[in-house]
Amino acid sequence: MADAKVIPFDDDRRRRRTAGASEPQHDAWPGQGEAGEATGTGDPSGAEDASEAEGGTGPAGGGWEERVAQGLAFLRRRLTGEYEVDEFGYDAELTDQVLLSFLRPMYENYFRVEVRGIEHIPDTGGALLVSNHSGTVPLDGLMLQVAVRDHHPAGRALRLLAADLVFTLPVVSELARKAGHTLACTEDAQRLLERGEVVGVMPEGFKGIGKPFAERYKLQRFGRGGFVSTALRAGAPIVPCSIVGAEEIYPMVGNSRTLARLLGLPYFPITPTFPWLGALGAVPLPTKWIIQFGEPIPTDGYPAAAAEDPMLMFNLTDQVRETIQHTLYELLVRRRSVFF
């Protein structure tokens, strides 16, 4: 356990930079393979070959007919209902081919997300990704999902745990379910981890995402640490994850409690531009993002009753929280500017 507390930032970064430079761009039409199904080899080049072979000619010229044929085959499956969803409503095909391709321009060109330490997410089996939460609007979760799907050698699908508010809203709830998100509750999280999925959780919840701009990058309380006992029960490693850049997309300088209560929201953000500029004010600032995954904290060495031990839960929760907080500070010190 002792070595899990040490996060070798520098080594990690150097390794990641060289790897990241040569990382090929993913085709907008990734392989048809079942999401979350790892290739098993863990060899990035192998995974790339597979997706290249299935994805046809790729973005290079001359492949338009095949692209059209693929698009029509996709349209045919969609219109006749011949596709599969899992028990949580996750529609892997729709997520990979449509939902994520809407997010990719934002991910690649707008926030220019830099991913480090992605190899800390295992190639197979369950893992619990614990991340900080910020930005007034949960774009950080969506960007995290793109990062894991596109940059992980096994192309793993991230299953995010979302607040219940998400599932009461029309359209949002439908899209969230289809993108593989589910309610942040022990039952669902444990079920997903036992099935060997990568589950993403942001334990700060509304306290983190709706905190004022002055408190940026200060981690809020991590709930009751339920995520640790869930990971322990499933024996899944905890991967701490720090996201830098999301805090500044909507600098929340005020919170209108009256409006929030009227609309039934946990907070109503007031930023220098929103709601003054209307829809224009809802455009996020183009900050530069860094997503850093830390060393996984193993949870399989504990006895069966450990998940009921409150002391151990608090200690592990603190350890995860400290790791994320330190990484955040580390990344902030090295960051050149908010926007570059």
Partner: protein, 358 residues
Amino acid sequence: MGRVVLVTGVARQLGGLLVGRIQREPDVDRVIGVDVRTPVHQLGDAQFVRADIRQPAIAGVLAEHRVDTVVHMDIHGTPLTPRGSRASVKETNVIGTMQLLGACQKAPEIRRLVVKSSTSVYGSAPRDPAVFDEGIEPKAPASGGFAKDVVEVEGYVRGFSRRRPDVAVTVLRFAHVLGPTVDSPMGDYFTLPVLPTVLGHDPRLQFVHEDDAVEVLRMVSGEPARGRFHAGTFNIAGAGVLLLSQCARRLGRPTLPLLSPAIRWAGSAMRTAGLTDFSPEQIGMLTHGRVVRTARMREVLGFEPRHSTAETLEDFARGYGCGLLPPEAVGRTVDRVAAGLAGLSGERHEEKEPGSHG
């Protein structure tokens, strides 16, 4: 001497099917069907007793025939006759169950009680886990309607099993039963020419095929196989999950997304017209959906449905025919477009965009 099985609610198709199936069991001597109305379908050699389970007379029926197994199927969300009222349905569900359980308690020969319950007991709420285990208590208790009936019925059944520990009590919580012959609220809904849906929601649904429903009821009404237990509460659903949009496309029926207040009005209008029942809990179902875990059914009960959720829907579609937009025709149209495009050597790549709304 063989078993004597009493089945309530035999005037409905599922009850009738079960009576027919149980008669063929080698160890069953007699099957007694009970309902308030004479069934229109044949019950074979089974004896039909016209009795109202809401009346104490049901105790006499149990004693007279020395019944040892009771299969209580008379728990429904919709009235037996189209003109029946919701109040009478509730009375049959709740008072009927109370009377029947009271009669069972007084009958010393009873060894086995099977109750056909519903996954409605979990309700449909956004704050509940996505997948329900038998042990999960819903966060929002049922406020009324069929869901509340089922919660109350299961409460009485639990009370009964405490008072009569010698009786093996099985509660089967069925997902929507669909099939070519049985009618159910979900089946009625799927036969509408245009399916009204709740705008911005795509619920997850699970179905049980009528044959599987009859089979599991037959199985638990008999002696358990070695190493299996029938007593307890079990979710019964076919494997896999379908979204409502998927069901509509596979059935070839167009959908009409409505805002939730509008669907309530449409629902009451349709109820008045006698088309289908659009109860508040069904609207909740169409908004948030419901999925249950069936691990206990497989592992403890040892029952594996022969039809998955998708196969059940397919069989249902075969029975009722396709809607206005048969999937084959849609598929052919897309194929024709593909062929046309191939002729044009693929200059119009924007064709793939309409599919983006899933």
